[in-house]
Symmetry: C2
Subunit: 273 residues, 2 copies
Amino acid sequence: MTSANASKFGKAWILTVGNELLIGRVINTNASWLAKKLSFLGLTVQRIIAVPDTVDDIAEELNRGIERAHVIITTGGLGPTYDDMTLEGVAKAVGRPLEVHEYALEMVKQFYQARGLELTPERVKMARLPRGSIPLPNPVGAAPGMWLEYNDSIIISLPGVPREMESMFESHVEARIRDLYPSISVIECGILVKGVPESTLAPDINRLARRYKNVYIKSHPKGHETQKPILEIKVMVSSSDRRKALEEAGRVLGEVESIAESLGGEVGKKSCV
Amino acid sequence: MTSANASKFGKAWILTVGNELLIGRVINTNASWLAKKLSFLGLTVQRIIAVPDTVDDIAEELNRGIERAHVIITTGGLGPTYDDMTLEGVAKAVGRPLEVHEYALEMVKQFYQARGLELTPERVKMARLPRGSIPLPNPVGAAPGMWLEYNDSIIISLPGVPREMESMFESHVEARIRDLYPSISVIECGILVKGVPESTLAPDINRLARRYKNVYIKSHPKGHETQKPILEIKVMVSSSDRRKALEEAGRVLGEVESIAESLGGEVGKKSCV
């Protein structure tokens, strides 16, 4: 990565493609699944964007991502139908032509041959990748994914069907990203606080957040704000030293615990991931 | 709406605010719930964007939305804690100051008074709205929402807790949007096709989609692509004439049915919403 683009380091965007997301027919579980994976790999996800199935919308958001993020993952739009146009969007964003990729075609061919089916134009389409891409095998379905390095960013295109997306990510993407961010540990710890309304605890949480700048602190109301307040307090710390991250998380939650108890709250056991 | 901004008409953006979305701790059900509601009100949702809890990120995406959409809905970031900064983001985007709104303050005051709690600065913060806003009562929680008209767009800020968001939308937003788009009916119909792989049906679906430009057609693989293919074919039609929309949806699905049967598929019963 050139120094001009060092500001991208550690940043990720997720671009989920599909009208079915924008009409609310599908809940975007792919986005949250990927966001969690990337966060635990040490990346900071800065945008999750759902765009319609049009080349221009896909290319527009990809170009914004390429300006600002090291890793950009797309989901959806790799299939055989007319509205699967993610790779065309990638090609437009990076200014490269789509070409049938020999290995990708082999993947598609083997998938259908094994099932006694022909290689129709719609199936060949799934093997057309932007020039310079590496195809990613699909352990579950027909459409290959894509890994493309461009302008100090990595664009990774995964299928939209969750089990295909998850399987491709775990088999062919996760380890490669871990190699790029080898030394980062991410710790997340949480406690439950009963009996203190969120707005009563808020000033103290605010103070802690200002004091521990590198710790992400968040309170999630689980019960009713005043009648039966239950708050989940979570802290997340990234560090190259796992032990230090755990200590820091423990220190912050310890302070939250003392404060909550002084306000008459009941505090549950700490758990960490 | 001025003619210069007529291109915004019928377009909506959804901006969901919160780091918890970007680390994958929370699945963005608010986005799909709102997307479905807006689609059935006749709006086309063109972006769903999750942004971190920072004023600049919120304002950046709001400004893009204001350029291009008539209705922009935000969720989350209205609460009492330091990282609830949606309204600050709105204020920045529209270049107006945040001010304690008399009615909003009354809502917050009543909520806490009824529970024997004081009006702390954190609670008053929830009543600070960008100048010119209309506060929206929160039927379930403490934080009011906001309705703000600016530059021929409407910015609506709703809470992040789903039951508060849904309740506020249904009580105070839905009817107002329906008044803006009174005459549009949206019909969605679907059938299940068993025994035809998606890529086999794809060329015909592509042809239908090109022929019926105002009908949104989509196939969703439900089973395995080749071993046990089950496809859900859905069509969505918007029209000022509900009967015509139903007819058009039926015509397209009728064609899909004939094609699927000619390919040896088994077609289930049509259902419409």
